[in-house]
Amino acid sequence: MASPIADLSYRSYDGPLNPPSARWWVIAKVHTLKAFRNRFYWLFVGLSGWYYLVILTVIFIMQMVSSNATDLASGAGVTGSSEIVRQIQFIDRFLWKNQFLHGFSFGQLTYLIIALLVGAGAVANDNRANALLVYLSKPCTKWDYVVGKFFGVWIPLVTAMAVPSLVFFLYGMMSYRQHGFALYAGAFPAVLGAMAMAAALHTSILLGISSLMKQGRIAGILYGALYMITNIFTVMILVFWLQPVPDARRDLGSSVVVDRNPLLQPAFYSSIDGLNIGMAKSLLNVDGGNAFGMPPDPLTVVPAPNGFAVFWIMSAICAFWLYIFWRRVRAVEVVN
């Protein structure tokens, strides 16, 4: 019978070993690279930027139309041609930072899918495969595991959110500086901040749920259900918000004072989706409004919430789910 030892020249390792610190980065790195190697991840990253693609296409077409109309008007010597041009060149009246908010808001569903893709099985699959025995028998602490898993999900998620916005930002800076884009350059770091918070919220809840499960798909279904249920609640609140208000004028662009139930506004933001958008509104200092650059309708727009309140609520939710995750990290099941 052949020897079971395939390599008889094998020698025990006597090379360098890094000190047992910052192992979390090894875990985060491997998890992140695994996500980046997934082709579906990049597919959804591309899909999450659909709003930016549409808005850039609209701007491009409108610019073409505007350019042609200007040439025609001045060529024909039409009286008041400058007024026509002003009407057509709506791009100069664009609220650029609103575009970052819309890009972020319209990408929410794809962010959810990416979060499920990257994070649903992050801990549940480890639970099923007893992987904690591998991690904790190495010089890794519970802290390393929790932090490593957190960043292993957070980094791909925040990358997925940031890439389309970054492309839009760079394109805007190159092409629309003269149309006021540069005035809102600060919107990009602001929306990045909102993305960091949104990714942290997704990551924490997902890891918390995942740590309670032994199958990634079950964890994914539960998180998806939680997200959708809270989102339906937000939509219901929006329906109430859009109810006709007596004695309110619907003049576009003007400020309208409306007496509404004071609970409606916070209730609108009482969902994962709502918290993310609320945080983005606060950081961008906008209330939102109609998409594609039109001025906001004060009757339909839900004003931005208090940024500090949203921050603390999101932080508390993150802390709660991360605590659950932390409690679940055990190399051995100890039955008292």
Binding site: P16, L17, N18, P20
Partner: protein, 310 residues
Amino acid sequence: MIAPPLEAIASVVNLTVRYGRFTALQDFSVQVPKGCVGLLGPNGAGKTTLIKTLLGFVTPTAGTATILGHSVQKEGAKVRQRVGLMPEQDCHLPGMSAIEFVAYAGELAGMPQAQALRRAHEVLEYSGLGESRYRKVETFSTGMKQRIKLAQALVHGPKLLLLDEPTNGLDPRGREEMLKLIRDISLHKDVNVIVSSHILRDIEKTCESVIVVVKGQLKMQGSIRDLTRIQGHPVDVELKEPSPTWQEAIVRRGITIVSAERNKARLQHEAPTEVTTKMIFEAAREVGAEVRGLSVATKSLEEAFLEVVH
């Protein structure tokens, strides 16, 4: 019956581990010698609890433990960097190929990335998984999963390897191969090994000494040779053919026949073994019998274990 070893790789002093009201280890003290050591005991004796405590998975109620000079309680990370664990249960990292898994385990242990990958190739080759290194671990057979558990435990060059039931679920051939690997690691690769098992033949084949744990307490410790030795140094003799005249000649010389069956006999004499041997050959020459085999009689590890446990 406890003989403390000269050079200890691990030291456990008055260790008590409780799970709620249940005491898994009670005032347990042991010095683990270098080499390959078997951790024996019936199910629920506390073997796995001892291993888990040595790795810091379980916090002891009282007592201390040191491995390779590092305190388990205070320097857990340093201990785990020098120790490799092959757990009893199946364990792997989902979605990874064998090479990715072992390289990752190396990185987790502190190896630089390039070294970890190089070593992963070496250790998989050594473990006999060279041809399956790019396969997903989930698709491995039980035997291959046992081997990859060994590979991930070995990758960072530990000075002490803890093997918990390493032959669990293996067929006879796979078991034999695993035992050969363990012997090679302990004898030729300068790695100390603690094998926890309730399969006594596995321990007998791989280990030089044993620690017997019963009901959370150290029952016995020593080399296998000492433990299996029978008091009074009896000798087992095998003749070519049964010979009653030879037996008479033996008795005439004052040697006691402890047992005799066909052409085999176990003899006991107060004199040293060398003197007894000489007398056995003289008796054979006197009656014209032919001695085919002669050895100092020992009991099996199983017999020794049962004596201790009961």
